[in-house]
Symmetry: C2
């Protein structure tokens, strides 16, 4: 790895903290990912991206900045990458998946806050996230109470912040609100770049993101094979990298990997043995490096065949209709696409449980593991009806509630092993 010390210093990172984080991350990556057998060769690219996530990729973003592009950091799949790209900007995901500087965090946030929120505060307070520091604008959104209210505090820690309101149901008024907020977001981007978004810009932005989503959908579909040609850990990793990498390059690499996976499927080669227990994981997003529960699941010999998560199907399925010939028509198409997202902050949210059922069916899953982050009220409350509805349909469900610590690893393993034993 090249020496990025100067870049990290320029970005204001705390080098000691950052070294500690990278060492930790590197170790986890080795033991969780590199120890897997039967990995497709195409994963080499994603391993490389991960190894350079705080290095070369940040250098690229800084080079883009030099060339006049703005970097837009966000925490939620409701922030449309199409609009960011159309404005000539680059989108990066900031959600954080590891505990950091927890003592500092608990001075400004309640202890009973979910790990994901505490994590991005910790990354900021500990000065270890180059994506946050390189961002020209950070976008927060009114999803759950925890994020909505904590952004009031977080927004004071960063120089340029935009808060996006979001609806709470799927009524016509709610769609109006979403469109209004996307228009305000466009206005903010245009103000930053000093340039209006043109029709072709928007068409191109939509095309780029559609291509990415189509590649990810292709990957999802290949996992329906038995044996699945790729592990759930690797597939999750790709979905995580989707938020960080250059979208065009990323799409090419995912498609190249899919070409390889198609061959593996033909040869009946899989990441796990044929007829390995098949699990769909559903619930809260898992940001890098939150690989805890998938690692526990696949350590049992089971294979994860789908992620019903913002970092997975919920965030990436559905493309945007690019056929309109006016900017307003295209914005409407973007709104329509995002308005379908079945996040648990919506009420009612019956679409989500229907989608989980559909995923379980399409992937020939033997069971669904619902992953709830402790104190995430929307997903944990919804997990009760998810369990009830799926069980009624004959799908076995295990509800887990955990955080980013390692303290409950023993208990988690025991519960997951028992569940896999039942469903296999």
């Amino acid at each position: 790895m090249a020496d990025y010390t100067k870049m990290w210093t320029d970005l204001g990172l705390n080098l000691d903290n950052h070294d500690a984080l990278l060492e930790n991350l590197g170790g986890a990556y080795q033991s969780i990912f590199m120890s897997q057998e039967h990995r497709p060769e195409g994963m080499g690219y994603f391993d490389f991206v991960m190894s350079e996530a705080h290095g070369l990729r940040i250098q690229e973003l800084r080079d883009e900045q030099e060339a006049g592009r703005k970097i837009i950091g966000s925490f939620c799949v409701f922030v449309p990458e199409e609009l960011v790209l159309a404005a000539g900007c680059t989108s990066v995901g900031l959600c954080a998946g590891a505990d950091f500087a927890q003592e500092e965090v608990e001075k400004v946030l309640p202890r009973n806050t979910c790990s994901l929120i505490k994590s991005f505060f910790g990354f900021k307070l500990g000065k270890v996230c180059p994506y946050m520091e390189v961002s020209d604008l950070i976008v927060g959104e009114n999803t759950c109470d925890g994020k909505k209210k904590s952004f009031e505090i977080f927004s004071q820690m960063v120089p340029n912040f935009f808060q996006m309101d979001l609806p709470q149901n799927k009524a016509p008024m709610a769609r109006k609100l979403l469109k209004h907020e996307y228009e305000a977001f466009i206005a903010k981007l245009e103000e930053m770049t000093g340039k209006r978004i043109g029709l072709e810009d928007l068409k191109q932005g939509i095309a780029t993101v559609n291509a990415k989503r189509n590649a990810l959908a292709r990957l999802s579909k290949l996992r329906t094979a038995n044996p699945s040609p790729i592990s759930g850990l690797d597939a999750l990793l790709i979905n995580q990298i989707a938020f960080l990498d250059n979208p065009v390059r990323f799409t090419g690499k995912v498609n190249a990997l899919c070409d390889e996976l198609e061959l593996l499927v033909k040869e009946n080669k899989g990441a796990k043995v044929e007829n390995a227990p098949r699990v769909v994981i559903s619930g809260c997003p898992m940001a890098i490096p939150n690989w805890k529960v998938p690692a526990v699941i696949e350590a049992t010999g089971a294979v994860i065949v789908g992620e019903e998560s913002c970092i997975g199907e919920r965030g990436q399925r559905n493309t945007t209709d690019a056929s309109a010939d006016t900017i307003d028509g295209l914005i409407d198409a973007v709104v329509d696409r995002y308005f379908k997202i079945d996040c648990a902050v919506f009420t009612p949210n019956q679409e989500r449980v229907e989608h989980i059922k559909e995923m379980a069916k399409n992937t020939n899953a033997d069971g669904v593991i619902h992953y709830g982050l402790q104190f995430c009220q929307p997903y944990i409350m919804e997990s009760f009806s998810v369990e009830k509805t799926l069980e009624k349909d004959g799908v076995s469900v295990l509800r887990l509630e955990t955080d980013y610590s390692q303290e409950d690893m023993g208990q988690l393993s025991t519960r997951v092993e028992a569940f896999v034993e039942i469903i296999k």
Copy 2:
């Protein structure tokens, strides 16, 4: 007390559970309220209302139903009583302030849910709340995640449910949403009664509620005297009864009490000694019979001089402008009045901290105790900035986080005593 066994049976209450609840409640009331010294005579009425809260008042509501009125139960000060009265209906508050049937509750709700939500589930599952059972319609609302998502489950337990969407900020689009929801609520009421709301109905509804709020404001103002002529416990009780009693009768009784309090102030007579430490309590609502923290505070000899709470100033301040001459104009006035409510579900919510400051100043408070229900993310997250802002202004703040159990009474007493010692 008359024998209401038949009525309770008709309502479907579980008589054993209900007897246990009433006995418990009666005992708490005796020890917390009736043991107070220097109570104004006018409290006799409110003691009577409390003693008949599950008896005579329910009988009255049933008599109203016989006469064709509909009873509308709700959980939130965003459900406008003006509209309910204008439709010829009666509004009752359903928020519950005690643990009940917790084992049953935890089968349908996560453990990490705030006591208030668990409580109304417990009251429903344990069949002990005659207000819930007598209601022709129950209104839920999208305030916090906990309520929003738990109403998906609760709505299936009651025959007639209406979910009201609410905005998350105070932008023009948010006001539009609120108006839209109030119009939908009016339509629902009109559908139930089979009668359109007329201009005079709405004017009368507004007048009745304004009179009630003016009486409560008069009560609040009298508490600025030193010594305060009424205890915080008694004032809280009146604010709690505001959600249950007939509004016209209630207003008369509050005004009669205020007449008496004016005399007491002139005579320099108070609920506590002159110069007793003065506390404003701020934060989560305290529904009947949640008197835990105020009882702890006033047991130290301090007097509570204001409640910055939905059951208190936040819910009752500001009247509705009744001057418009069209129904739409009056609805706008209702929307304007409710849009000012500074609930912590809004972001940003700077108005609230300004209002707490103002209350502390106007009441000559020596300190503010912030009351957060465990797992209530909006209020507990906001308590950090409340504390910071008030302390910067020289106002001492104690942040409490508790639930409805009695387990932390010792710890609470110790912390409150220490705080009162500091501020006095």
